[in-house]
Symmetry: C2
Subunit: 336 residues, 2 copies
DNA sequence: TGGGCTTAGTAAAGCGGTTTACATGACGAT
DNA sequence: ATCGTCATGTAAACCGCTTTACTAAGCCCA
């Protein structure tokens, strides 16, 4: 590979001149410019990014940390971030933590190594304070999708409370009164907020909330199935379920089918996320759509602003919307 | 951040000693080792990777190029690669080409910039020779999932021919004789091979292959739906379809439903890939499973071997397997 | 004719490591 | 006493680029 010096020699100028010319830090007469351009073309010179980075201390790269990149929700988020980053000339490192806190910490350390300029962090487990402590002294991080309490960085979330409210109200409007909630781990912001939205809709409609119908566990298909099974085996059955993720909803769907029942005839169901498969399952899932592409793009833009020091740590909330498909049916009283 | 020199000063030795000690290139007496270790701990020294890379010319990072990271198939592949890379201390750059050849070329250039040590490349469009020409002079690339003809690098593919053969034979064994094939773009290796497998099964069973039932287009849901519509509207209808990707199969599923028909009662269907949603759709899809995790892992290992010069350019074929679910029914003749 | 201002550059010191080649002192052997 | 050898390191160049501070030459103007 040709180096900057090679180009300089070939063009009969100093390396400094070439460097400054390439970075628009100097005005050179046409003749000199032509000689440099010719040398670059002839030698097929391409700057060594490593050297550039070492020298400038910037890497023009960011890292995105997801719990699991093979999860379509995070994959879509990552894809949106990547697209935005790419359009600004930033490369993207990715890492899946697979729920391992150590790997989350690793990613943050990489950032400290100046390996990358900034970090977009997604997590899906409640933090015990470790992450918060680590992030407290770092200022080029953006939190996406889920909060880590106690750190003040830009955050891009959705209207979780409103989402659960919309979903629950949709069920209530269909005539349901006995509605259960299935959600993720208790410590998570999204779980708390969605629960609040659920409660608001129920209270507003004057409906009772049964403690044993509030299932908080994890955002997984398995937990959805298990919770649904428990609910269906209870002495009193709900007629509808608000599931706080599509994965949970899929689990419910399978458990219901296994019990020989049918969604929505025997049980109405609303999901959350609107992942690609939501409209492919049977029945197509009524769910709360998160603007995933928008979230990813915005997160990158916040980060970029942060790097350019034009951003203060602020929290953005993106709207969600109810997508009506076919997993909710009007309530028909048992007596009929 | 503390530097190597800081550590050396604190430990009362030269930077050389510290560097060599950290890289196991020198034997030092216990006392010296302890002083260095203490200095590292006290200063919280962490090596600057950029400097290290510039110096060694290695980046301990690879890049993975996918057509679209939000596509679960590629996301799973990427996740597997990432996991393998991570366990060997390699970081992973990701880029989605979104079908843009320019972005594929970009990724290769990044490699040449020594930005990364190696590249795992996935593509899903036939190459017009541009990529092949670019890759011809590069030796740290591994091709995954799909071929680029004319380049001799390690390749990790699946038994495409056998997969389509198994799927088609499964349909034949269920009594079907009128079987259509829906697949991706004509120029692709996987498409060619799967077509061959399909033909082999048909010929073996003495069944005719109708040219108008060979649909080659693209691996997308839309094309699956459109092809199914065409097939259903034809004067003679197939009773079964071999779809060469689960995305295609989903499209078929939707078109069939739209036509007021039912899978598998009116039409049997086999997919290819066994993506996560394959068992979630209605009916759960009988399909050909690709060992995605294995593919990703193996691809990384090939690349690693390549970097260590212990690998010759060889092509690996991974076995696929038929996963029977509920989208295939025995053929019942119309007369009944 | 010399002082100041432009123009068109350059020298050299970093950035933070790695690596090659060499140095110093102690010790054992002759 | 001297030589060779081993143990224990070190000096300095280098990776390829950026950046700060400086300079040489030319020109204008008084």
């Amino acid at each position: 590979m040709a180096t900057l010096s090679d180009v300089a020699t070939a063009a009969g100028v100093s390396p400094t001149a070439v460097s400054r010319y390439l970075n628009n830090r100097i005005e050179l007469p046409q003749g000199t410019r032509d000689r440099i351009d010719a040398a670059i073309a002839k030698l097929d010179y391409r700057p060594n990014l490593l050297a550039k980075r070492l020298s400038t201390g910037k890497s023009e790269a960011i890292s995105i940390v997801t719990p699991e990149i093979s999860n379509p929700f995070f994959a879509e988020l990552a894809a949106a971030v990547e697209a935005a980053a790419d359009s600004h000339g930033y490369a993207v490192y990715m890492s899946s933590t697979r729920g391992d806190p150590l790997r989350e910490i690793d990613a943050i350390k990489r950032l400290q190594d100046q390996h990358v300029d900034g970090l977009i962090m997604m997590t899906n487990r409640p933090d015990d304070g470790t992450l918060a402590a680590l992030l407290r002294h770092i200022d080029n991080v953006v939190l996406l999708d889920e909060d880590i309490p106690g750190v003040s960085v830009p955050k891009v979330f959705v209207e979780n409370e409103q989402g659960a409210y919309l979903g629950t109200r949709h069920l209530i409007e269909a005539g349901h009164r006995d509605i259960a909630l299935i959600s993720g781990p208790a410590g998570l912001m999204s779980v708390r907020e969605r629960q609040t939205g659920f409660r608001r809709a129920m209270v507003e409609a004057g409906l009772p909330i049964r403690a044993e119908w509030l299932m908080l566990g994890e955002y997984s298909r398995a937990y959805g199935a298990q919770s649904a099974k428990t609910l269906l085996e209870g002495s009193v059955r709900p007629t509808a379920i608000m599931a706080c993720s599509d994965y949970l909803a899929i689990g419910v769907l399978q458990a219901v089918r296994q019990a020989g029942l049918v969604v929505p005839d025997d049980l109405s169901l609303v999901g959350f996320d609107d992942m690609a498969f939501a409209e492919l399952v049977d029945p197509p899932l009524t769910t709360i759509r998160q603007p995933v592409a928008e979230m990813g793009r915005l997160a990158f833009e916040r980060l970029l602003a942060l790097l350019n020091k034009t951003e203060v740590a602020t929290e953005i909330r993106l709207p969600v919307e109810l997508v009506v498909r076919r997993s909710v049916a009007p309530f028909v009283s048992k007596g009929q």
